[in-house]
Symmetry: D2
Subunit: 341 residues, 4 copies
């Protein structure tokens, strides 16, 4: 921890900070600069908040040196983690990008199975579909609940695809685990610590979406929390962030976050072009961009009739456009060199 | 709902959109402009997502005319709502601003009671204090839990102050209701719809903090959800938003949100200068600014020794600074004309 | 123009707005909704500010229907514009992406010529290099000025590469035009209207960088201004925007802006991965992402010894990394289908 | 300067960085932490870019310790600077807030003089009015130019008010100086370094507006540039920043920036509630908020008939509302304790 003193800090103020650090069992190194003094506190700094140093007289600013996350960091686990779903689906490392496809919400069994079959035919390995839907307004369609989970279960049995769905309520954990292969934490719940704690205790892979305005550090700290509770099967998912301009896109796709995460963490990272853009005609260019930038997978909304979808129709691909995208992705992947993180 | 066609949309595309609107039981008005046509859809538009119109051929953009919230809107309830806590504390309308003070986290009984006494002495009506603390990192102090609630209960009995504390887990609802007078929904949980639904069914006033990057509309929609479930005792709380610059402040205090909310909604709105700034020496100027801009109250972090606080020390006032602020606020309030919304 | 009335607007207020619109020579269409009335103003709306309607009694909000830019819009010019530099370099349409490479600042002749040779060898068509450097702080290296322009001139003569450099001062226009093939407007000057007006009168192609926090509309309006003054040879350049997170990247690369611009405008759009990321090890993944998302070109900072560069060293590729990137781009381009906008 | 090494940096990499720092004539202090090493570079660090250290092998991150601005910092000039305009108008220190009022654009002589008289009557000390107007779109009213300056001159002679107007083109400097008492640098030109350099050489006070997305540091660096060229009569002006939500306000008023600037710099800082909010009915609450937060002045748009104003009508006060605001401000100022920065 680095404690930066004010330029006019007195000897006494500096000594007082040094004593305070020592009293907590840490060592200090003094860096007496031309303008001001910097005190390095060395020892078990993660135990202490920067606040209690920042408020001491004569202190200008306090900064941590270590990254705030540890278990998810490449510093503590150098090689890529490969997360395996249902024994045969592999996210991360040098494995080719995994495609997850499906409707925003599960609407009915027939429709879901039709989508699942197309998804499988195009090379997708997993089926997505919401049974519990977070909706901004209180009087909108919020999903079929348990019935939706059962339809997902039918679809996975018929097609062999693995299934991922969002969990919103800790009280649904057992139910959701029963019918699915991967738990999704949605963007709005990325800092729902109660929910993170519980999925951290579950024995299922977790797809952790980045919050709408979460920094890279906050996103990795959310993963750290899950791993700290015992679950290390985590896949990160970039899905667009909130910025000053959302006139032509729902969010701003942060493609650079993909290679950034790959440098900071050993966990796999995938991309959601549907939510990142909010427009079906931007899904293909952004999906391709993410894959060449190194994404370990894609999660894409697909529906036979997007104009009839009960939610998110504007960002959903129809079957023809989804097939076309899958063919284009295949060609790109064929010329990519194996990416070294 | 306003459906804006592309400048080159064909007659057939326009007719197709009109037919689609009629098929859903709504009327249309055609506005044939110089460059492009705008179709107004009139009827029960809130039932339909804009997505299903936006995706039709020849449509450029779809916009709602009505505000997305209804119960919390001044359009449906013209006069200010006054929310009463414990029969005698009144938020909203022409009532003078209510001050809520206390530590970030409840740390121990003695300390809490000392703070409560000072708060009362300075004119505060309510005591704040976290028993369950949301912490970004997984291995930080997360509050005393039930014991913290019990200490709050002791403090309110000794001082007569009402108590507000944050609830993070739906499973804690009964417990938290037992010991407190108002439930706080923290910024990170503003779109935790499961939690909003549950406090919407509770018989306690709710303090709803604005999410870190929530728009005014999203914040009011979160309140709408609570009210839609049956609880209309809601107090909104501005606490700073996330912007591009956080070098000198933790968040950006959105003071204009206070008069904006007062125009849009009948609900009271208060301000949290501690989280909005993150720096104790900015708490006083911003607290005063919020009050003259029309805030119905303030929630302020106070601690006898901020440098020893287990959390948020840097943004916490000590007793002397808190007393000074309360005196200054009193003078300002004395010269404010009653604000007409 | 759409004038949205308050739900409780009186008949008289509505009539007053209608009269005001008529008095300006425009027609009206009334859309009487369930909750509120919307008045469409039809005619020469671009002549009038929305402000003068918004301030009338009973008006809630006023919105324009037409896009605010006209000359640069695909609505007025359906096919892609191809901008030609020095007769043989073509940006836009189905032409393969053009690579522009070079140092941040021109430092000396020898160094510049070495870079130009490598750039040419790798397939770049243009050389970049700053003679006048905008620096945030006042006492940093601000470029060689006229001498830098002369070095660029030598380099283009020796290698045949075309040259682009930034212009910051209207008084330098003739000088810069004499030595270069394309004028660059930097991000900080995207709304320097004096400068835009002048390059709009020049007979040189203009590379218009997006401002740090410019919306898509503002960026296109800046291009509109240049075109309105008579110069239609404009190439747009996305270079990253400012968002809430810049810990691991200098800016947030807005890759989706590339396909968005291609839908809205007929002008070509290129990408600057160096400024968009600020980190040399993110340049390659983002450059590749931009190209598969449809960019018509790339502008990349290259230097023989980035650790000795006088500016922007951290985001600059050395020769080996630049060569490697060019080879990878070639492979990707070979499998891309011609993109239809 | 603090150079943070990677946790796995080798002894050789550390030594290499140390040697590089020494070769530039600076000293080093090694801080060997539990996880990683931090090297403090001590000496003339402002001469060197952090880039050239960041790119060395084994370096994770480089941070400056000193504030990047020097002349404008309180570190180098402890007491408040008081900027005097026309001998009798004083901004800064303990002087009461100065009110600047006037139309967005100068429209005609009669109108301007009527506004100037009201402004004076209400206690304003200066008249604002644009002769050269920056407009986002190219075909909008851009001001009367020299004629506008002449009208301002007539108004100041008739009323005795001092005059401030925006300068956009370095070639207009002599002309604008001839007719006005203070030069305004608009938000869009805050990083127009050519213009900053020129007003830095002028003998007139400068009103420096904060850029739309300028950090506090960038804003102070723009002031530093002006002061570095020789002009130290600078008044800073907060006018709202760009954030994710602009549905109900044009910008987000950053009220906390006022006390932050007062701590960092000795220069006076004023507030522009008109541009910060964009809505006339938010001007009064925010103007009052800024004054109690410590602003040294206000610049407010006033017009006899805002609905007929050629620009910015929606954010302009009419005479009655301006008078009311001035009376309320007077009451607030009377109870404010002299603020100690």
């Amino acid at each position: 921890m680095i404690i930066i003193m004010e330029p006019n800090a007195s000897e006494e103020q500096i000594q007082n900070v040094v004593n305070h650090v020592h009293s907590l069992g840490m060592r200090t190194v003094l860096n007496c600069g031309v303008i001001q003094t910097v005190i390095a506190a060395i020892g078990e700094t993660p135990k202490y908040s920067t606040d209690q140093f920042e408020i001491l007289d004569g202190v200008r600013k306090v900064e941590r040196i270590q990254v705030p996350f540890k278990l998810v960091s490449r510093d503590s686990h150098h090689d890529d983690s490969v997360i395996t779903v249902r024994n045969n689906i592999k996210f991360g490392g040098d494995n080719p990008p995994v495609i997850i496809a499906g409707p925003c919400s599960v609407e009915n069994e027939e429709n879901l199975i039709a989508i699942a079959k197309i998804a499988k035919e195009c090379g997708a390995k997993m089926l997505r579909g919401g049974a519990f839907k977070p909706r901004t307004g209180p009087r909108m369609f919020e999903g079929l609940g348990k019935l939706g989970l059962q339809f997902l279960d039918v679809a996975r049995k018929q097609t062999g695809l693995a299934v991922v769905t969002e969990i919103m309520d800790v009280r649904d954990l057992d139910l959701v685990c029963e019918f699915t292969d991967m738990l999704q934490i949605g963007a709005r719940n990325m800092q729902n610590f109660t929910l993170l704690n519980e999925v951290g205790r579950a024995d299922k892979p977790v797809l952790l979406k980045r919050g709408l305005s979460a920094t890279i550090d906050e996103w990795l700290l959310a993963a750290e929390r899950i791993m700290d509770k015992g679950n290390s099967k985590i896949i990160l998912c970039e899905r667009g962030i909130r910025t000053f301009d959302n006139k032509y896109t729902r969010n701003t796709a942060d493609i650079a976050a993909i290679p950034v995460i790959k440098r900071l963490s050993h966990l796999p990272v995938i991309f959601d072009p549907s939510h990142a853009t909010g427009k079906w005609n931007l899904v293909a260019p952004l999906a391709k961009a993410a894959v060449v930038a190194g994404a370990h997978g894609l999660i894409i909304e697909v529906h036979p009739d997007p104009e009839k979808a009960l939610s998110d129709g504007a960002q959903t691909l129809n079957f023809d456009n989804f097939k076309l995208l899958c063919r284009e992705l295949e060609k790109l992947v064929s010329v990519l060199s194996p990416v070294k993180s």
